[in-house]
């Protein structure tokens, strides 16, 4: 066998290795979804979605968990977008570039990789205990916001960086202040990709159970929350709860709950893909 045939073989071998790896992930996901659907789909109906939790698996539903998840999404959006986007703007446009901003930058990137349960412990110590918020939706959403704020900061900075400098110069040259330039030109131009990033971060956040178990999402809440100070439960926690029950009927409930959670996550991802495409079509620099 001469050298060039050997090289060819290496090439081919890697190609098949790559195909195998790609499909491994997809096949696992497909099998997972198939099994979940098989078990959970027959259980999924309108009653399941609108029923309160119950000791009897056939009566139990996800109503409180679903409403809790919506509340959580809503509050988390408010906190994380306000804080994350403004911090991103500050770092990208206002902060003097120097060793200090470098240090901030590195640490924010590191925060993205901190395990979520650590945020939970922080939330427990600070929001629940120190600020006395207890196991409320407010404490939970603040904790969840902490988790995704670093992601939103990074997204905001990247999106602002992608807006051509010439736009900024054009606005300055017409006598716009920095604030006007950011608010009226750069942010609108960057908003498409910021929104995409925020939605992806939220999609991750609504699937989180670990930090919220720590900050007091309850496994059994017989009512839906009405204010941010109320107790709550969430879809991932409800699912976690059901899977830990011994009765097989609850496993069926868990599968049905997973379908709803997957649907929400896919929906959010879909919206972000839609917005990204729409955005890319609109602006060509």
């Amino acid at each position: 066998m001469n050298n060039s045939t050997k090289n060819r073989l290496t090439d081919k071998a890697f190609q098949y290795f790559g195909i195998f790896n790609t499909f491994l992930g997809l096949v696992m996901l497909a099998v997972f979804i198939f099994v979940i659907m098989q078990v959970g789909l027959p259980r999924l109906n309108w009653d399941f979605i609108t029923s309160l939790p119950s000791r009897f698996p056939e009566k139990a539903g996800i109503y409180t968990a679903l409403i809790g998840t919506f509340w959580m999404l809503f509050l988390t959006i408010i906190f994380s977008v306000t804080l994350g986007v403004s911090a991103g703007i500050y770092l990208e446009e206002y902060a003097k570039k120097g060793w200090f901003s470098k240090l901030l930058e590195i640490n924010i990137s590191n925060l993205v990789g901190v395990p979520s349960v650590i945020y939970g412990i922080l939330g427990l110590a600070f929001f629940n205990r120190y600020l006395g918020l207890g196991g409320s939706l407010l404490a939970g959403s603040l904790t969840l916001s902490l988790l995704i704020i670093p992601v939103i900061i990074v997204t905001t900075r990247e999106s602002l960086k992608a807006v051509p400098k010439t736009i900024k110069e054009g606005a300055y040259a017409l006598g716009a202040t920095r604030w006007q330039t950011i608010w009226k030109q750069q942010l609108p131009a960057a908003s498409g990709s910021i929104v995409t990033g925020v939605i992806l971060a939220l999609a991750r956040a609504i699937g989180e159970a670990a930090p919220l178990i720590v900050v007091g999402a309850l496994v059994y809440v017989p009512f839906i929350p009405h204010t941010p100070m109320d107790d709550y439960t969430l879809l991932p926690i409800q699912i976690f709860n059901w899977t830990s029950r011994p009765q097989p009927e609850f496993q069926v409930n868990a599968s049905a709950g997973i379908i709803v959670l997957l649907f929400l996550t896919f929906l959010l991802n879909g919206i972000s893909i839609y917005l990204r495409n729409k955005w890319q079509k609109k602006v060509k620099w």
């Binding site: 054009g170 017409l174 006598g175 716009a176």
Partner: protein, 250 residues
């Protein structure tokens, strides 16, 4: 409107001494061309007049730039107000990613003008002055990106005119345009100098010869020669100027 005066101006980017002791008087209602090879400091010099260099890291400047007898680098000077008086057109057309109308109205809107009738009027007169009105009057709501490069550049000029400047700085405004668009732009510059003081950086010698009244030749951060365009092109005093203009280097 008075002269623009540069007095013993020095500029550094970090260690790099970009402008070396340049003094120059720019006459009102004339077109003054700044020429010279790439990296000679002509764009940096142009951007001194509306303080666009302020945002560049480690930019440092000494000397004075006087506009209407005020040193515009005095700490009391309001940069935003200065930039309304001294407009700028950039090398590559840079319309905002909004409609044609919004592009022209932006400068007035940020000053707090929101009355639709007034805005409409300013948008129309500015587009007319930039000789773009007839081409876009039926599509004001369309995206500025739907225009051709030459139209975009005239839109950027209209946008600048809308805030009623006295001086217009142009940084190689035709370098991204085709010959026909370029000639339209040059005719426009010729019209505009009746009402505005124009300073233009250009790489194109023929262009400098066609449109400018005065020409300044920069080389390695120094102002080598500054005279009427006619004299500069026919009988330059310095050999370097002659070599550059005739295309022997640059």
């Amino acid at each position: 409107m008075n002269q623009l005066i540069a007095k013993n101006v020095n500029v550094w980017y970090g260690e790099n001494h970009a402008i070396k002791d340049v003094s120059m008087v720019i006459e009102p209602y004339q077109v003054t061309a700044l020429i010279g090879p790439s990296g000679c400091g002509k764009s940096t010099f142009l951007r001194l007049f509306n303080r666009m260099n302020d945002y560049i890291d480690n930019f440092r400047m000494e000397g004075e730039i006087l506009i209407n007898e005020t040193n515009i680098y005095d700490p009391t000077v309001n940069t935003e107000a200065l930039r309304k008086k001294v407009g700028m057109v950039f090398q590559k057309p840079n319309p905002f990613p909004t409609s044609i109308y919004e592009n022209v109205a932006f400068g007035m809107k940020i000053q707090g003008m929101n009355k639709k009738s007034e805005l409409d009027e300013i948008v129309e007169t500015s587009l007319r002055k930039a000789v773009l009105w007839d081409e876009v009057k039926d599509s004001l709501k369309k995206s500025a990106f739907s225009l051709s490069g030459g139209q975009q550049q005239r839109l950027c000029i209209a946008r600048t005119l809308a805030v009623e400047p006295e001086v217009i700085l142009m940084d190689e405004p035709a370098s991204a345009l085709d010959p026909i668009s370029t000639s339209k732009l040059e005719n426009l510059i010729f019209e505009l100098k009746k009402s505005y003081t124009i300073v233009i950086v250009t790489h194109n010698m023929q262009q400098a010869g066609r449109i400018s009244d005065q020409t300044a030749f920069f080389f390695m951060g120094k102002l080598i020669e500054y005279d009427s365009t006619k004299k500069m092109f026919l009988k330059p005093t310095h050999l370097q100027t002659q070599n550059y203009i005739t295309g022997r280097f640059g």
